[in-house]
Symmetry: C2
């Protein structure tokens, strides 16, 4: 079995890295932690591309000698290889389809909008470049529209407790980890969105202590005016 060990490559400052970390911890799948420091560009080396992930990104896995990238593809692979509890990927036909729908929809919506705002607003000054306030406004506006849409359609304005319906699934974990990210850039997605705020708290409560473990660094680097949980 040694050659079928599962290695997980991740950085907890990456949104989808946190989502898979929470899944792995919650499902108790045995795995080896392989942290990759994005801030040191450890994912950009030739060595990493050749021996870990040809696309130079995290998260990714190596299972035995099989390399796999892409969070949602890894989630599906783990669901088949380790047959974890159905709660993460419900078997009821319409609920499973709704979870699938979110996992595809999010790429060009919640993921794209929250990540673009975060990357531009947070990274540009770090790279010593000047921030264009008009671009920040445009990116923030797109993100705001998308968060409003999420609250309205995916949480049905609060009438639906989780993305897939009545129960938590991996779709909620993916969504929450993305929506946490703009806090780093001084934007609180919960402000003015009570239903979204209540849902985030439900996701956190349902997946703790692993949710807070995954977000410990994010909480630490979030500007003080945005409230975050105290984590040791």
């Amino acid at each position: 079995m040694a050659n079928r060990a599962l290695k997980y490559y991740f950085d907890l400052l990456s949104q989808p890295s946190r989502a898979l970390y929470i899944l792995l911890e919650q499902t108790k799948i045995p795995y080896e932690k392989c942290p990759v420091a994005l801030r040191k560009f450890e994912n950009r080396t030739t060595e990493f591309a050749e021996s870990v992930n040809r696309f130079g990104k995290v998260p990714c896995i190596i299972h035995g000698d099989f390399k796999l990238a892409e969070t949602i593809a890894i989630f599906r692979y783990l669901s088949r290889e380790f047959q974890f509890d159905d709660r993460w990927y419900p078997t009821e036909r319409s609920t499973r389809a709704r979870v699938d729908e979110y996992l595809e929809w999010q790429h060009a919506n919640i993921r794209a909008q929250c990540a673009q705002f975060f990357l531009y607003t947070w990274m540009t000054p770090l790279l010593g470049m000047e921030v264009d306030p008009k671009k920040v406004d445009r990116l923030r506006s797109n993100m705001v529209d998308c968060l409003d849409l999420f609250e309205r359609e995916w949480l049905n304005g609060g009438k639906q407790p989780f993305v897939g319906g009545r129960e938590l699934s991996f779709a909620d974990v993916v969504a929450a980890c993305e929506i946490e990210q703009p806090k780093l850039a001084g934007f609180d997605p919960r402000a003015g969105r009570p239903q979204l705020a209540a849902w985030m708290e439900r996701v956190r409560a349902a997946t703790n202590p692993h949710y807070d473990q995954a977000h410990k660094m994010l909480y630490k680097f979030t500007p003080k005016e945005i409230e975050t949980p105290k984590v040791e």
Copy 2:
């Protein structure tokens, strides 16, 4: 069974609409064609949002009374409900994971880059707005890098006949339909990429006559300097 009829909402000028059309035709799943004219904004009406797809997009389906959006989620749903031939979604564990990996990777890569170039270059003049040549150059450059990456990594520089490996799968259909799109805006993705050109021809040959049926309008509107098949 009448209440479990499958209705397919699509426009063949939409890349993923073509991909699902080809799948439905090839698998002989019984369905009702519900064309939606994007050029007439038929997808933007309140009626469409309320009775068909809350996100106002195509493709989407209604199966019985169950509404579902998102191409890849629809593909997965159809694979479970209709249990079509394994070739579209291979069951071998590593091949299935590789197909899944492509279907997730493409969102922020082939889909995003080809669609952004197409939309800006083709739609801007139609909307009576001025095209910024610098923006066209930047979008083209991003698309070119992505197509090169696709040829190098997903076709293994031509050593791998299809995206998932030795056989065609739905991943190839999704990829080819996206890569056809920039032809409309005068960009031939095959030029200078013999391996990609050969792969596109393999995908077309393996899925005809439905590939050409799906692309008939695209061929018609492609500028004359880019060669397209003659289709009646």
